[in-house]
Amino acid sequence: MGKYRLSNGLMVFPDKDIKMLEAMSRKGYHVDSINAFGLYHFSEGEPKDYIYAINYEQNLREDFLDYYQASGWTPIIVQDGIQIFRGVPGSIPIFTDKDSKLEMLCRYRNGYLKATIVTFLLLLLYTLSTRMINLGVWEVVIWACLWCVFVFPATCLYGLVRAVRQLKKG
């Protein structure tokens, strides 16, 4: 029987998720999917000492997986913007230098920065317009929806800014 576990926030605390996936594999539960709400599904199997790696590439080229498979990493979850790979202890790390990781994180951070600014401006414009137009009960509903649309890129941006800072320091 499978099990479910909630992500710790894949974009903000990827290391926590990696530790959790590895601990689950040691217990015999191996991740096979994640849904839009951050809920992982694990299939039951033999306990294994697997290791996991997370990447955030966007606009994947068709030869993307070749690189990982040639290095012994098995793709488990591959979506535009999030990829999770499974390897065995001793596998070559997916990033072997700081520059390439920084390059990827900065590219991704800049995308979320734009999205955060755009959604913030939308939220601001809407808040100002409600002073002139009365939408009744819809006012709160639209406001809540816009907040949700703003919070997602803002949270991702926070995680990426944090990751870039840690990498530059470390």
Partner: protein
């Protein structure tokens, strides 16, 4: 002050330098990782994410050209601009090696 990217400064890291060397002939991206491992007897390994990101960036700055796809697998080759950057870095490294050889020989002789 922030660090300048090697793609802006033209000062290549060891990984980018060797990746460009492997692209003197058209090659599939994923095969470069194996080639580097063979050439350096496993001393230098390039991870898949590093390889993929580096190739994307090399194409973006125009140091590498993408050739027509062979099925799903793309081939890459160094461009003229990339060749100029590689040559400049090669000359610099050669000078450093010559200097290191001279100083180390001097040190050995004085011992």
């Amino acid at each position: 002050m922030g660090r300048v990217s090697p793609y802006e400064s033209g000062e290549l890291t060891d990984s980018i330098f060797i990746i460009l060397l492997c692209m003197l002939q058209p090659v599939h991206g994923y095969k470069i990782m194996q080639r580097i491992q063979e050439l350096t007897d496993g001393e230098l390994q390039i991870g898949p994410a590093t390889m993929y990101t580096t190739i994307s960036k090399l194409c973006e700055v125009g140091w590498v050209e993408e050739l027509a796809s062979d099925g799903n697998r793309r081939q890459y080759v160094i461009s003229e601009e990339g060749m100029a950057v590689l040559q400049k870095n090669f000359n610099f490294r050669k000078k450093i090696m010559a200097l290191a050889t001279e100083l180390l020989t001097q040190y050995e002789e004085e011992k």
